[in-house]
Symmetry: none
Subunit: 218 residues, 4 copies
């Protein structure tokens, strides 16, 4: 009965919440779950707890979500979507031929903002990641998400003039994705000034990218 063999459960939201009332309830559940995660951590995220705090009955929770994990799932999906939308938003013809460093200078802060609206969200994100460790399904979701991000970044690289073989470009995109992750960690975990951080990461990225870009610098 190792984790790998956990039988796949349905984790989709139960009712397609067309009606406003239903939608509100779903939101209330998710909001409360997010608050518990942020304030008390994953261990305290029990179904009873969510019900009590959101002023609903435990039965109501199960009217909207088939099981506890699906709540975590939904939170995670929404979280990732925010980030993905930002990146995908840049993947248009308008980016074609633009200067990479300019695009990066816009993209990085945008991603950063999408991920972290507030300090609270950083705790929330941590707890979500913990949830990922526990529920393999969440990891799958993240992998898909990561694939999309990296593919999009790869496409972006092409648009700004990186015309190398697909595989290397893909790896390069992954490298950049990682850098944005690191930047985020640095801003969260240390009191380093954003300017300093941005400068360093730009230099780091520049150190690699200068070999792949046309000579915009001159």
């Amino acid at each position: 009965m190792s984790t790998e063999t956990t039988n796949m459960r349905t984790v989709a939201i139960r009712k397609s919440p067309r009606q406003k009332r239903s939608q509100e309830k779903v939101e209330r559940i998710l909001d409360e779950a997010r608050l518990i995660l942020t304030e008390q951590g994953l261990e305290q995220l029990t179904t009873n707890h969510i019900a009590r705090r959101s002023g609903m009955s435990i039965g109501s929770i199960y009217q909207y979500f088939p099981n506890k994990q699906s709540i975590l799932n939904e939170l995670y999906l929404r979280w990732l979507k925010g980030v993905r939308d930002v990146v995908v938003g840049f993947d248009t013809d308008e980016t074609n031929g633009r200067n990479f460093y300019e695009v990066a200078a816009e993209l990085l802060p945008a991603i950063f903002q999408a991920e972290l609206h507030s300090e609270l969200d950083s705790r929330f994100q941590d707890e979500l990641k913990k949830g990922m460790a526990l529920y393999p399904e969440l990891t799958e979701i993240e992998q898909e998400h990561g694939d999309i991000i990296v593919s999009t970044l790869s496409s972006l690289l092409y648009r700004v003039g990186v015309h190398i073989d697909d595989e290397t470009r893909h790896h390069l995109a992954y490298f950049l994705y990682m850098q944005s992750d690191c930047l985020e960690a640095m801003l969260i975990d240390t009191n380093c000034s954003p300017e300093q951080a941005f400068t360093w990461f730009n230099q780091a990225i520049h150190g690699v990218m200068q070999n792949y870009l046309p000579d915009h610098d001159e």
Copy 2:
């Protein structure tokens, strides 16, 4: 009831195991716990399970560890110590005045090797991360660990000639620490060749460090 204050339990090992027998028991418990974690996952890591597999009684476990969490704690501490030792091992007078890039070229692979000895260890590490999801104390341990690593790297930076103000050097050390993390993720998650990855990360590090290092390159 924020997580930090939730459990103020004692998680240190119970008896300073001076006697050889005691020490052996502690090791047996930890070994068995590691095996269960690696072979069967965190879900199967129950105190009863550990007791049965290690041929001891459940009561004996509690003679040496105040609670289950402290076992995970100890495992995690030892794991981190391995990595830390590598870094700290470079923090000697012998490093004074050495070329940074040379040191980095030795340090990065060493860290990488310390973290992942084998495939088994990667499973073990995953399960430890799950443990972190459930026991906030483990997260604290990791933070302390990170602090030590970063401090040591900062000290290393000084030794190789980065004589800037302490805070900035500390941040710079953090930046380097993150880069080693990224490198690891890249090698695990993609099929990028190690050479390629090492090249990129060296270039990235170089992009930043060249501004802080004396001109060794010439």
Copy 3:
């Protein structure tokens, strides 16, 4: 707290469904319940399930039945009625003075046929028995049913000439009822040929009845 007094709930059908529409709804509920029982088993027989499948609201179900149990009750009553009707159908003046063995030779197969119309019904019957396991009231219904059958058989015995004291005749009727049960079990559980089974049971019945019947055989 003996079982008999545990639930003194109303289990009768709620409204005397004079109106055609109401009657139709009652039938729809019962039909759907029977289908669920046959196709999916007692575990899936939930009020929500019945409501969804019959295209009605859960509230409507409770308009026509005071509780879930009363639905099972009604199904069971109808089922038993089928068998009872067969037996009662023989309890008319036309049977007066007929040869017992002739009557028995008609009655036994008729009962058998009434109980088991098809394979589906055997599943349905099984699931009803599960229901009996959970709802003691169903057992009471079966007892009443048995009483009626036995009384009717007793009356039949009188009609064919068994003019012994009432109590003994009642017991004799019970004996015959049991024999039909055994015959059924034998035909279901073994691959014994119906002819063989009928022969044996006729011989068994004959062994007892010959002492109570006028000498038709000669």
Copy 4:
């Protein structure tokens, strides 16, 4: 998710109760379960209920039985064993060549006594049978049991001189098994005198068996 597909669970007793203490606990649990079944019926047989009534903690129940069903299982197994032992006890060379009716006259009351020690046991038996309807595993147990009984009876028939083909003799054994069941039902459900009942069933059996037995009667 019909009953048939219920995944087979372990239903064996958990600890081989070598120690006296353990054995006593197992007995206490089973005794209390039997009492609940007899006094309150299958619906009231919950794990919490058993724990409370037996003055043990719910955890203790699960120390000795892996799940609720296994308790019912054990009760059923023990019950059946009593009956089986009686029948099998007759299946020795000493029975060879004995008069069938004599053997039957000893066997039937013996079976009857083994099944029903008291009035209470009849209710207990009823509830066990209900349990059978709910838990398919119990049905399997009963089928095996029935097979053993019938095979043994078939062997007995051979010993007393019924030398017909195996299949028919097997069916005949089944017929006799059913008759003992009926007799039991009659004595439980009606106030018919045991003498009367035994007489009838002997006559019934005689009606069939006279065709298969050597002429002991003369």
